[in-house]
Amino acid sequence: MRTSRMTAQELVEACLAASTADAQITYVTEHAEANLRWAANSLTTNGAMRSRSVVVISFVDGGAGMAAGSVSRTGTPDVAELVAASERAARDAGPAEDAVPLVAEAPPGAGDWSADPAETSIEVFAEFAPALGQAFGEARDRGELLFGFAEHSMSTTYLGSSTGLRLRTDQPTGRVELNGKSPDFSRSVWSGTSTRDFRDVSVAALAADVEKKMGWSQRRIDLPAGRYETLLPPSAVSDLMIYLYWTMEARDADEGRNVFARAGGGNRIGDRLAELPLTLRSDPAYAGLEAAPFQVVPASSGSASVFDNGLAAPAIDWITDGVLTNLVRPRSWALTQTAPATVAVDNLILEDRSAAVDPAEMVAATERGLLLTTLWYIREVDPQTLLLTGLTRDGVFLVENGEVTGAVNNFRFNESPVDLLGRTVQASRTERTLPREWNDWFTRTAMPMLRVPDFNMSSVSPAS
């Protein structure tokens, strides 16, 4: 067999055919990406990359229960060797705690198995790059510097199983970040967006947003640490909610070891977390944020199981109208808890369906408060309360009588997103946004602006 000529689908079939295990799941991901990076109005790095990864998960019952072994390789590996390595890993692993029968029913929404993988190349920036060059020129004329990054990737995953699944999903992912600075770096602002194909990206609009915020930064105001009425824009909200989402593991909660554990045992499902009717949800069909409609899991953890590969990942509410409704729960843990299995989807939406204002209107309705831009270097300080620390970044603006009156120094904050939901007094209409801290891993979010009356700015950061 000339393996170097094999398509992804042929590779999946060959691995399944070579199996001597009790069961097997194989998936092949074809990935293409292109990127541009720039600093101080000039290119720094760039690239066009292609890769193929092959993951073979073998399931072997040695008598004491089903065991799983997961082995991955790039390129077009030797099928017999790869399958044998996976089966050896399964035999060595011992019975898996998360063993359940493999999924046999095809989930809705999978793509065309027989079609070629999706592609991208550096040409995706054919119009973007000259427009960026023009923005550099305009920034230079204003005595300003632009920094940032643009990336587009296409991943096509073909997943097959010995139970008969043949599933395909395509995931386009794109992001642009534009950071404006004064030549001495003392003023710094940011604008960013996620995209599926770059056709909806306007460099001019991003550059105009940066120019507006650079203007707001002309007047510098020093404020001390303390609790402030704060407007968290959608990007800042997304970074806090993503961390909350990543913490929503049912097993950890049931075992008493995360913020969703209930004192006395069990979890906090049913508890009211927010006074406002805020809903946190995921939906693989959300327009503009489309994500895989089934699970693809290379390795088991408390929040996902290799046995659940191919399981449907339908739309789900995590918090409904302010009340905690679901935690992430693989089928195996669901069985031990007589609770429903739930699947984490690769997008996240927070909304107040009764919201009637836009972010700009929330600013206009603010007597005195801080308007943030993004949050940075977010890390967990105390898992008990989900206390997070981090920095404000690229624009803390003072709003007085509905107008931005200047740029304030940055702060280190210490806040729990769970507590913040409880203290939020107003939310805007939801819009698509790009997280700042987590956009390497998570780009598909839609969030409102939130008003928090007493955000904890723990200390001043001299950084800009």
């Binding site: 690239g47 292609r50 997961s70 790059a129 075992e255 280190r412 806040e415 950061s461 950084a463």
Partner: protein, 504 residues
């Protein structure tokens, strides 16, 4: 020094010369001033156990090649996974296309600082047992046994154990004639014990302090770390922590153990002295640095006791290499001398920009699919020759806190304001440890903190700490790096109570 091992034959058997000839010839034909090719194979295994039962064993191998060119003064980069001469030619052509598309936004002409040619060079890191030669069942079995020891202790309700090990094989060739072959092995074992108080809903955890290192499986069996005492102490230390009083916020003298201090060095000195940050290349992402080039030679970074070196040579260091990803040999140099900023970490283009005669070898790509960027050397704090022991340093503190183990970390985008927590905090009263404290975080500004360093321990306190997952660049890349340091004392540092910070 390199060990007695050689680069695995299965890697050397790849068509390295044919790929090189194909890619570099095509790049030169297309008018490139410089071209290089990297072929890498990175094997990674992660074993994780939950309560001594296997949770996941993943075994991955990333094999690919990348061509990087300088074409008319602009970078171009292309990477793929098919190891054929035809693909190498295609990648050279694609890298030139990338350079041409990018020329529209390039104004800085790329030129590389000179470096001697290493025509046929090999480096293998110093390890005894290749973790990938050990059967999975043996590795999982040892981690299960470690877990069982912790679970058997009173009060330990859950245990997480994991071990990640990596074998990185790298071939580099460039149009100047350098050809290097390298093999590095590293390992990161870690166990965390957790206790839960169901009635109050509170929980607390404690993790082993064994740092990730450039060693093989022998690290789990007694070479370079003594596991038995650490595993036997951990449950009692955890029990003591759950009963400890909550800290009173305020200013304290801190004695910081190397198991915590390495991370503070990493964040507040390691990243702050990366020249690409100081020049703004990371400005939109990882950030910039307060330690700008106009302050080189004058910035008072810390007290006169502060001696910081950068190196890519320390034995078992995670950033230790034979040559970097631009063919520059590993070196050692001063970054802070007597408390004053005197050096940066650079790559070849930045070295030329700064007028330096040579790069100090800090270019690194985390995988065949990524472009090399300036990454951290082993950045370390030098101990005081004949300096005091940890007990002696604690003995000199009237009212303070002894900080052990790293946990939470966060620092701003110019590397001024940081906040760290730890695994254990001990009250110091009258020169003696007086039990653990809970809910502690320390917060400071970089130069204030290092300026307050009043005692630096001796070589007997020195430990090489580190991390596998230092993040930088877009697309994101993870780099392993070590930081050696002794125990040190810092006067009147701000301590926060994290429960109060949460508004409780």
């Amino acid at each position: 020094m390199p060990g007695t091992r050689s680069v695995d034959e299965s890697f050397l058997a790849l068509p390295l010369s044919a790929l090189t000839d194909a890619a570099l010839t095509r790049a030169v034909d297309l008018g490139c001033e410089h071209a290089d090719i990297r072929v890498e194979r990175i094997r990674t295994q992660t074993i994780s156990l939950r309560d001594a039962r296997p949770e996941a064993v993943t075994d991955g191998e990333d094999l690919g090649l990348a061509v990087r060119v300088v074409h008319e003064g602009t970078w171009g980069f292309a990477a793929g996974v098919v190891l054929t001469a035809a693909e190498a030619v295609r990648l050279a052509e694609e890298a030139v296309v990338v350079a041409k598309v990018s020329a529209a936004i390039n104004t800085d002409r790329v030129e590389l600082a000179p470096e001697p040619v290493y025509a046929d060079a090999t480096y293998v890191s110093d390890y005894e047992i290749d973790p990938f030669d050990v059967p999975d069942a043996d590795k999982t079995g040892l981690l299960a046994e470690f877990s069982e020891r912790l679970l058997a202790a009173d009060g330990v309700e859950h245990v997480r154990a994991s071990c990640m090990h990596v074998k990185e094989q790298k071939y580099y060739a460039d149009t100047a004639g350098t050809r290097t072959r390298q093999q590095r092995v590293r390992i990161h074992p870690d166990l965390t014990a957790l206790t839960v108080d169901r009635a109050t809903g509170s929980f607390e955890s404690m993790r082993t302090l064994a740092p990730p290192v450039g060693r093989g499986w022998e690290y789990l069996t007694g070479t370079g770390w003594d596991w038995d005492p650490e595993l036997s102490e951990l449950p009692e230390l955890l029990r003591e922590k759950t009963k400890a009083p909550s800290v009173e916020a305020g200013r304290y003298d801190l004695v910081v153990d190397p198991s915590n201090l390495w991370l503070t060095i990493h964040e507040s000195i390691g990243h702050a002295t990366e020249l690409d940050r100081a020049l703004g290349y990371e400005a939109a992402y990882a950030g910039t640095s307060f330690a700008t080039v106009d302050k080189l030679g004058t910035l008072r970074y810390g007290s006169p006791l502060l001696q910081i070196t950068g190196d890519r040579t320390a034995p078992h260091g995670l950033s230790t290499v034979g040559w970097d990803d631009e063919g520059v040999a590993g070196q050692e140099w001063d970054i802070v001398a007597d408390g004053v900023l005197v050096g940066y970490q650079v790559d070849r283009n930045m070295a030329r920009l700064r007028g330096l005669p040579r790069s100090n070898g800090c270019a690194f790509a985390d995988s065949p699919g990524h472009v090399p960027v300036q990454r951290m050397a082993n950045v370390s704090l030098e101990p005081t020759p004949d300096g005091p022991s940890t007990e002696e340093i604690i003995g000199g503190v009237e009212r303070g806190i002894y900080v052990v183990g790293d946990k939470s970390w966060s620092i701003d985008m110019q590397r001024y304001n940081f906040q760290f927590t730890g695994q254990r905090f001990y009250r110091i009263e009258g020169g003696k440890l007086a039990g653990q404290l809970r809910d502690v975080a320390y917060q400071a500004t970089t130069t204030d903190f290092w300026g307050s360093m009043s005692v630096v321990g001796g070589p007997q306190t020195y430990v090489l700490g580190g991390a596998f997952n230092c993040g930088k660049a877009q697309p994101g890349q993870a780099a392993p790096v070590s930081h050696g340091c002794p125990t040190a004392r810092f006067d009147q540092v701000s301590i926060l109570n994290t429960v109060q910070e949460a508004g409780r």
